[in-house]
């Protein structure tokens, strides 16, 4: 669901949600990988919100989450999803729209 950017956030700020189900190895790996990527590519303009579906199962329904871990780019719009433990950095960058899909092919 596309949501309006929160008041006070700049239009170029990245609001990222990471949905996990408990503190599984995959969840930990995903968060670690995400932090590394953000530090490198989005330093100073990102915000990671980790949502544990085991604690808030209702969110899985509300946000239509099936796979975990799922990374959702809530802003900037449009919403983009990446699933998995984010171990493949290039895929994450494509998924988040930081690099173009074609860029990968050219390399």
């Amino acid at each position: 669901m596309p949501r309006a950017p929160k008041a006070g956030t700049r239009s170029d700020s990245w609001d990222l949600h990471l949905y996990v189900a408990g503190k599984t190895p995959k969840a930990r790996a995903a968060l670690g990988n995400l932090k590394l990527i953000c530090e490198e590519k989005l330093k100073g303009k990102y915000n990671i919100n980790v949502i544990d579906l085991l604690k808030n199962p209702q969110i899985a329904r509300d946000d239509q989450i099936l796979a975990v871990p799922t990374l959702v780019r809530k802003s900037p719009l449009p919403v983009r999803n990446v699933i998995g433990d984010l171990s493949n950095t290039e895929r994450v960058l494509i998924g988040l729209g930081i690099i173009e899909r074609n860029a990968l092919k050219l390399r």
Binding site: Q64, A67, N88
Partner: protein, 586 residues
């Protein structure tokens, strides 16, 4: 695929009744309780409705709340779709008997990076089950996850894990899946759901659609292995386990009148057997419907219920036509004893017809069921299917102890006894109506081709539709065959004339005889008077002679006395002669 070992019936597998008409009969009580069942089939074969009915009936009838996880349709779409089956999903959802959840995945927005699992799905299903305390779960159609999520290996492994997980939770689950090319499901889900697999099929043959259901496997339970026709209508799903019926139905000794007294006489005096199957076949316009209607009319008069399926005429037209021959069916319709169902045979497939018929029969519980005419089902080369359908219907009616009355239109060009031969073995009493063409006119003849279990007449009767109903008349059988209509009438007139002629002849003979007798008697009188005249004459002569003789004797005696001779002997002789003469005169 029966895995039943001897003695295994001791621990019967617990089952979750579906309450879907007929299905519990085939499965021996329902789906495996607490285990997943795979329902597969092509697009539009009714998987979703099947699953939904399982939930709704569970919620309504067994107080088992159910969760419906839809991967294709939204909650609103689902509610609207099943409303046509009479299920008020909105109300059930409000009362927390049913939980609807649409799981939506947009594959274009999903990028995969590394390993993932479907724990989110598990959490959602778990949450849904917990929210309403569900005992039944439907996943419709979970296979779509394969196209929506990257990496099918992960999806496959996760689904396998999901099914195991649902089994551990003890919820009875239906998983629907699209039929694959040569496989039961596109993604081979049948490998993971091995407890029970049901295949739904929707095929079109001769432009009519046929829905069928088959239990492909049912681990730990016996089940019917046939393909069973099923129907989806305003009452939901219904499966027909009719093929499972045997021949051990009850046979009645009771008889029912055909409504035509002389036809009853032909059927050893009492009419059809109750619960038997009667077929009237004949060419167009021979009065098949009239015979049926007459039968119906007297049955209603007895207070019996009749279900009349008409495939070629509308009920109003049929009733109007019957009124013209003095059979009034309207009052029985008004009284609710007679129900008409008019459909064009082409409108649905055979199976639908059968299923509809059986549902109506179950609902109305009639004493008599009329199908008029059955050959409307025959289109192209489907006689075998028609026969199978009728066989199932006949078996069903026998079980219900209802009398079946079929009519069949035969083509005049064919040998009539052969045209309906494909159903002959189903029929107990077979009446044949045929046109008899003599002397430039067409009349109807009726005879009993066969009638099981009774000494029926072998005679052909002329069959007449009058404005007072149906009449059966004797026919003349002469050198030229059967005489009917005018030919019969002229024969009757001819006979009448001959009879009159004979009577006149007899009269004449009698008159002559009388005259002869009179003549004879007159002659007798004449002879007698002649005789009497002669007699008196003779007597006179005799008297004279006698007197003369007397005198002569006396003279002789006097003479003898004077001569003293032997008088004695001579006197005696004279005396004898005299007596004889006297006797003659009398």
């Amino acid at each position: 695929m029966k895995k039943k070992e001897p003695g295994s019936h001791r621990h019967v597998l617990p089952k979750s009744p579906t309450s879907i008409e007929g299905l519990d009969e085939i499965t021996g009580g329902g789906l495996p309780k607490g285990r997943p069942t795979l329902v597969c089939g092509g697009a539009g074969c009714g998987k979703t409705l099947f699953a939904m009915e399982f939930l709704v009936r569970g919620a309504n009838q067994y107080n088992e709340p159910g969760v419906f996880i839809s991967f294709e349709e939204t909650e609103e779409e689902l509610t609207a779709n099943v409303a046509s089956l009479g299920f008020d999903l909105g109300d059930l959802v409000k009362r927390k008997k049913i939980w609807l959840e649409h799981i939506r995945v947009e594959p274009t927005e999903i990028e995969q990076s590394g390993e993932y699992d479907l724990e989110g799905l598990f959490i959602r299903i778990h949450l849904a089950i917990e929210t309403i305390g569900a005992k039944r779960v439907v996943l419709d159609t979970i296979e779509s996850l394969f196209s929506e999520l990257p990496n099918p290996h992960i999806v496959r492994a996760e689904l396998q894990r999901l099914f195991q997980w649902l089994k551990r939770k003890g919820v009875t689950t239906i998983i629907t899946a699209e039929r694959g090319d040569g496989t039961l499901t596109r993604q081979g889900l049948e490998e993971y759901v091995s407890d029970c697999v049901i295949l739904l099929d929707h095929r079109v043959s001769d432009q009519s659609s046929i829905r069928r259901l088959r239990i492909v496997k049912y681990r730990g339970s016996t089940h019917g292995t046939n393909e069973y026709p099923f129907l989806i209508d305003e009452d939901g799903f219904s499966v027909l386990p009719v093929t499972s019926l045997g021949l051990n139905y009850f046979s009645s000794h009771k008889r029912v009148s055909s409504g035509i007294p002389r036809l009853d006489t032909m059927l050893s005096g009492k009419g059809y057997y109750r619960g038997s199957t009667v077929l009237v076949s004949g060419t167009a316009g021979t009065g098949k419907t009239s015979i049926a209607s007459q039968f119906v009319e007297v049955a209603c008069r007895r207070g019996e219920r009749v279900l009349y399926f008409t495939f070629e005429e509308s009920p109003t037209q049929l009733m109007r036509n019957m009124r013209s021959i003095g059979i009034n069916l309207d009052p029985w319709v008004k009284k609710g004893l007679l129900q008409f169902h008019a459909t064009r045979p082409t409108l649905y497939g055979l199976e639908s017809h059968l299923t509809t018929s059986i549902k109506l029969i179950n609902r109305f519980d009639p004493h008599i069921v009329v199908l008029d005419p059955i050959n409307s089902f025959v289109m192209g080369e489907n006689q075998t299917e028609v026969r199978t359908m009728l066989l199932r219907l006949v078996d069903f009616l026998k079980m219900k102890r209802a009398t079946a009355f079929f009519t069949s239109l035969t083509s005049a060009a064919d040998d009539m006894e052969n045209t309906d031969v494909y159903i002959s073995s189903l029929i107990d009493t077979w009446l044949l109506l045929r046109d008899i063409e003599i002397g430039g006119e067409r009349n109807r003849g009726l005879y009993v081709l066969k009638s099981r279990g009774m000494a029926h007449s072998n005679q052909i009767r002329e069959f007449k539709l009058t404005n007072r109903g149906i009449e059966l008349l004797d026919v003349y059988v002469g050198a030229d065959g059967v005489l009917t209509g005018s030919a019969r009438l002229s024969q009757e007139t001819k006979d009448e004339a001959e009879k009159l002629l004979r009577q006149q002849e007899i009269g004449r003979k009698q008159f002559g005889l009388e005259r002869k007798r009179e003549a004879m008697e007159a002659q007798v009188v004449v002879l007698r008077s002649e005789f009497e005249a002669e007699q008196s004459e003779a007597l006179k002569v005799i008297g004279i002679e006698k007197a003369r003789n007397e005198r002569f004797t006396q003279d002789k005696v006097k003479m003898a006395a004077s001569r003293k001779g032997d008088v004695h002997i001579r006197t005696t002789g004279t005396k004898k002669r005299q007596t004889n003469a006297e006797r003659n005169s009398r």
